[in-house]
Symmetry: C2
Subunit: 188 residues, 2 copies
Amino acid sequence: MGRWQPDARVRLQEAALALYGERGYEETTVAEIAQRAGLTKRTFFRYFADKREVLFWGSELLEQQMVAAIEAAPAPVSLLRLIAAALEAAAVRFEEVREFAGPRHRIIAASPELRERELIKAASLAAAMAQALRARGFGDTAATLAAHLGTTVMHVAFTQWIDDPARRPFQQIAGDALAHLREIASAE
Amino acid sequence: MGRWQPDARVRLQEAALALYGERGYEETTVAEIAQRAGLTKRTFFRYFADKREVLFWGSELLEQQMVAAIEAAPAPVSLLRLIAAALEAAAVRFEEVREFAGPRHRIIAASPELRERELIKAASLAAAMAQALRARGFGDTAATLAAHLGTTVMHVAFTQWIDDPARRPFQQIAGDALAHLREIASAE
């Protein structure tokens, strides 16, 4: 059963990730996850709608915090600075769940259904960021371009971060990726 | 039945778009599409796997042509020029299907299932472009960032193009969007 943990949600998430990794996502049932966590199915469903949502828990919070960072940055501020602020908020979240991030990413990568879900979450995040940028007075095109630029940098940085042998902070990797993108965009 | 058309595929596409627009995508059957086109279900299935694929016909061709443009551009060439070349190839394709593009876009926007499919196609396109950029000697991070930058510009330009009151060419709108993105990325 592993070491004792007071937090049922975290125990269920750890049990799910362990089972998805061992047996595959498709093959694992909610009953097995609950059993591995030493909890009941009833408790599972108090935290998660289904076995898929275990993997996407926290993505609304991530979106809210990235949007809040865009809303909170003092004016005047450029689009790129707002994107950087949103990425800083993401960095805080990601570092909190660092140990989950790699296994979670590999489980999602192995399942077309989960990859679809991940794409939908990313599109939702880009739309929410674009909305927040428009609310700060930027035009629709600029806001949409910048929001997608932000999710692109986040995606690229995330992939590097989870496998980084030097275990550099997400914030640093994202900053490098953003600088890299600026370089690409400014070249003739 | 509308005016006579020699091309069964185009007739089926027009019939499907008309019915999806009138009744909704969910409510339309393949039998109804075939009937509206004055053709049989058997003919329908000679061209399309199902009623969803009517809407995504040509996306493989688009991907191939954008990748081919990246492969064909004479060296030395910057990542941004390769992205611009891919967008030029997309422009040629889009102008060929201009009359379909708006109705198709609105049908997809109205259906979560179709929006998911569109996201998957966009992710596939970005991956194929990144692969083509790596094959031209660019690093993984740079190739991935540039490919997503390309699909972002394409997405934003496409949305403007289908509703453009001035009916400007896609090429021009995409060029403006790319310039806009360069401006955003270069601002402090």
